[in-house]
C-alpha cells in the first residue's frame, strides 16, 4: 500500500481523484486585430486523463515495485499506465505475466527468441521459452508519480 492520501469516497471510472489540474491553460497564439488580451483565450483545464489515456476501457493503472527498470526510467512506486488494446512490439515496455506474477520489462523479439529485458545492468533478462511461459498483459504507455514531499503537504 502507498501512503497516498487519495480520498476513499468516490472513485470515478474515467478519472483519478485529485489528478485533474484545475489550471486554465492560456493559448499563446495572438489573434491579429484583437488588442484586448486574455478574454476568450481561456481553454478547458488541463486534463491529465486525456494526456495519459488513449483508450479508456482498455487502460489500467498498476504500481511498480523494484528497480530493474530504473533506466526506462521507471522508479519504485511509479504508477504505470497500461493499454491492453495495443499490439506489443519489439522495444515496448510491457506488463507481462511470468510464473503467475506481474512484471514490467522491455519486450525484445528477435528471429529465434523472445525475451524480457531489464533496464538496469544489475538485473538479468528473462528468456521466454517452452520452459518459461510468458504473456504480455498490456503495453505500458506512460507513468506518473507525485514527489514524496508533496504527498503529505497541503499548505
Amino acid at each position: 500500500m502507498t501512503d497516498f492520501d487519495f480520498p476513499a469516497t468516490v472513485h470515478p471510472v474515467a478519472s483519478f481523484p485529485r489528478l485533474r489540474v484545475e489550471v486554465p491553460l492560456f493559448d499563446s497564439r495572438v489573434a491579429a486585430g484583437f488588442p484586448s488580451p486574455a478574454e476568450g483565450y481561456i481553454q478547458r483545464p488541463i486534463d491529465l486523463n486525456e494526456f495519459l489515456i488513449q483508450n479508456q476501457p482498455a487502460t489500467f493503472i498498476v504500481r511498480a515495485e523494484g528497480e530493474s527498470m530504473i533506466h526506462a526510467p521507471i522508479q519504485p512506486d511509479d504508477f504505470l499506465v497500461v493499454d491492453r488494446s495495443l499490439s506489443p512490439q519489439n522495444g515496448d515496455v510491457v506488463l507481462a505475466v511470468v510464473d503467475g506474477e506481474f512484471t514490467v520489462k522491455t519486450l525484445r523479439i528477435a528471429k529465434q527468441r523472445t525475451w524480457l529485458q531489464a533496464e538496469n545492468p544489475a538485473f538479468p533478462d528473462l528468456e521466454i521459452s517452452e520452459e518459461r511461459e510468458g504473456l504480455v498483459w498490456g503495453v505500458v504507455t506512460g507513468s506518473f508519480r507525485r514527489f514524496a514531499y508533496a504527498r503529505t503537504r497541503s499548505d
Binding site: P17, P57, A64, E65, R84, V104
Partner: protein
C-alpha cells in the same frame, strides 16, 4: 433484425482473476454480500461441483481442501469492469441494451449471415483483449433466439450465429428443451409439457391461438419469437432483479450540474421506491451520463462511476447521498448531456439483512421509518444532499466484518491498483 446477446463468462470471477495471474486456470468463487453463499463460480469451480448458492459455512472445509480461491463480492470492481465492457460493445452498434451488469443486447442491422459471424467473433476478441473479460456471443433475429444462441455457444467456441430457417438452426431449436428457454420458468415449462410441448421446436410449431388462449400474450410471444418474429424490442424486457436501472433522455441537451442533479434525484427516488416495492436492497449504486453519440461533431463524454454502499439499503436518502456525490465527481462542464441514469447493483432481499440488523424492529417502528423515508426524500429534494448523509453512520464495522475476503478496487482506487514486481 439481427441481434447479438453478449454475456460475460463467470463475470465476477473473471473480474477477480484478471489482476491475479496466479489464479488463472484455478477454481475461484465469489460470495454474496454477507459472505453467505456462492454467487459466482469459475469454470474450474463448476467442474469441482461447487453449486450455485452453496452456503459458505457448509462448504468452507471442502473449498479449503480443494484450494478454491474465495472472494467477497466487490461491486466497485465489477461495476467498473462492466462499464468498460459496455463501452467496448457500444463501438459495435448504435443501438444497445445493457440488460444486466454482464449482459447486453446489440442490434446488428444490415449484415449478411457471414458478416454476422465475423462480427460476433470480432466482438468476442475485442472485449477479451481490451478488458480481459471473456464473453460469449449469440446472434439471432429475435431476443429469444439470440439468448438461445448465446446459451448454445457455451457448448462450443463461445460464438454462435443462429439462422432459424437453416437446417442447422432447425436442428438446434428442435432439440432445445422448453425449460432451457429464456423466460420459461419451471411452472410454465410444466404446463407446456402437459400439452406435449417439450422442446422449442414443438413450441415453434404449436398453434398460436391455442398458446395464446392458454398462456396469454407472453406465451404467444414465445411462439412468434421462435419463428423469427421480433416481439421484444430493445429495452422492452425488464432487467432481472439483480440490478435496477433508471434513466431517461432529456427533452433538450443539459449542460448544468444543477439540472443533472435534479434528474439524478428523480431517478434515485424512483429506484428507492422500486426497491422498497419489491422488498429489495441495493449493495452498490452507479451513476452515468451520456452525450449525444449521433452528433460526432460535438465533444463526447460518457462517464460512469459506482460506489459500494456501507450496508445494502433501500433507504432513499442514503442512495441519494451516494449518487449525488458520484455525480459531482464525474460531472464535467462544457458538454451537452442527453441522458443521465442511476443503476442499483447487487440487489438482495431486505429480509436477509433484517435478520441480522433489525431483528427487534416492530412493525410500528418500521412504518415510522418508511414515513420518515418519504419525508426525508422530500427534504432532500428541496434542501440538498447533505440532509441525508447522517443515515450512513454506525454501520461501518458490521459491514467490514461481512466482507472478509474482498479483493482490492484494482481499477477505481489509485491506492489499490495492482502491483507489478520490477525486479
Amino acid at each position: 433484425m439481427p441481434l447479438a446477446l453478449v454475456d460475460c463468462t463467470s463475470f465476477y470471477c473473471s473480474c477477480e482473476t484478471m489482476f491475479r495471474p496466479g489464479l488463472w486456470g484455478k477454481p475461484v468463487v465469489v460470495l454474496s454480500n454477507n459472505d453467505g453463499c456462492v454467487i459466482a463460480r469459475s469454470p474450474e469451480a463448476k467442474a469441482l461441483g461447487v453449486p450455485m448458492g452453496a452456503p459458505e459455512f457448509q462448504w468452507r472445509k471442502r473449498l479449503r481442501d480443494w484450494n478454491v480461491a474465495v472472494f467477497s463480492s466487490n461491486y466497485e470492481l465489477y461495476g467498473d469492469m462492466s462499464a468498460r465492457v459496455m463501452t467496448v460493445l457500444r463501438r459495435f452498434s448504435t443501438a444497445m441494451e445493457a440488460y444486466s451488469i454482464d449482459e447486453a443486447f446489440l442490434s446488428l442491422d444490415g449484415m449478411t449471415w457471414a458478416q454476422l459471424a465475423a462480427c460476433a467473433r470480432e466482438i468476442r476478441q475485442t472485449v477479451r483483449r481490451w478488458t480481459g473479460i471473456p464473453v460469449g456471443v449469440g446472434v439471432g433475429t429475435t431476443k429469444l433466439l439470440a439468448k438461445l444462441a448465446n446459451r448454445a455457444a457455451k457448448q462450443g467456441d463461445g460464438v454462435l450465429v443462429l439462422d432459424h430457417d437453416s437446417p442447422a438452426g432447425h436442428d438446434l431449436i428442435n432439440g432445445w428443451p422448453t425449460r432451457e428457454l429464456w423466460g420459461v420458468a419451471g411452472r410454465l415449462a410444466a404446463r407446456l409439457a402437459d400439452l406435449g410441448i417439450l422442446t422449442a421446436g414443438s413450441l415453434r410449431r404449436a398453434s398460436r391461438s391455442l398458446i395464446r388462449q392458454r398462456f396469454g400474450v407472453v406465451g404467444e410471444r414465445l411462439v412468434l419469437e421462435l419463428n423469427g418474429v421480433s416481439c421484444l424490442e430493445l429495452e422492452e424486457v425488464e432487467a432481472p432483479r439483480q440490478n435496477l436501472c433508471g434513466s431517461r433522455s432529456f427533452g433538450r441537451p443539459v449542460t448544468e450540474l444543477e439540472e443533472l442533479r435534479q434528474a439524478v434525484t428523480v431517478h434515485v427516488e424512483r429506484a428507492g421506491e422500486k426497491l422498497r416495492g419489491q422488498g429489495l436492497a441495493a449493495s452498490a449504486v452507479c451513476v452515468f451520463l451520456l452525450t449525444n453519440r449521433h452528433r460526432p461533431d460535438l465533444p463526447q463524454y460518457n462517464p460512469q462511476a459506482g460506489r459500494e454502499l456501507i450496508v445494502p439499503t433501500a433507504f432513499t436518502p442514503e442512495l441519494m447521498g451516494e449518487c449525488q456525490r458520484i455525480l459531482s465527481a464525474i460531472y464535467r462542464p462544457g458538454y451537452r448531456y442527453v441522458k443521465a441514469g442511476v443503476l442499483c447493483l447487487g440487489l438482495v432481499p431486505v429480509e436477509e439483512k433484517q435478520g441480522s440488523l433489525f431483528r427487534e424492529v416492530d412493525p410500528a417502528q418500521e412504518e415510522k421509518q418508511r414515513r420518515l423515508m418519504a419525508a426525508v426524500d422530500a427534504l432532500n429534494l428541496h434542501h440538498g444532499r447533505n440532509t441525508v448523509r447522517m443515515a450512513t453512520a454506525g454501520f461501518e464495522q458490521r459491514w467490514r466484518m461481512r466482507q472478509d475476503r474482498k479483493s482490492s478496487c484494482y481499477t477505481t482506487c489509485l491506492a489499490e491498483v495492482p502491483v507489478a514486481r520490477v525486479y
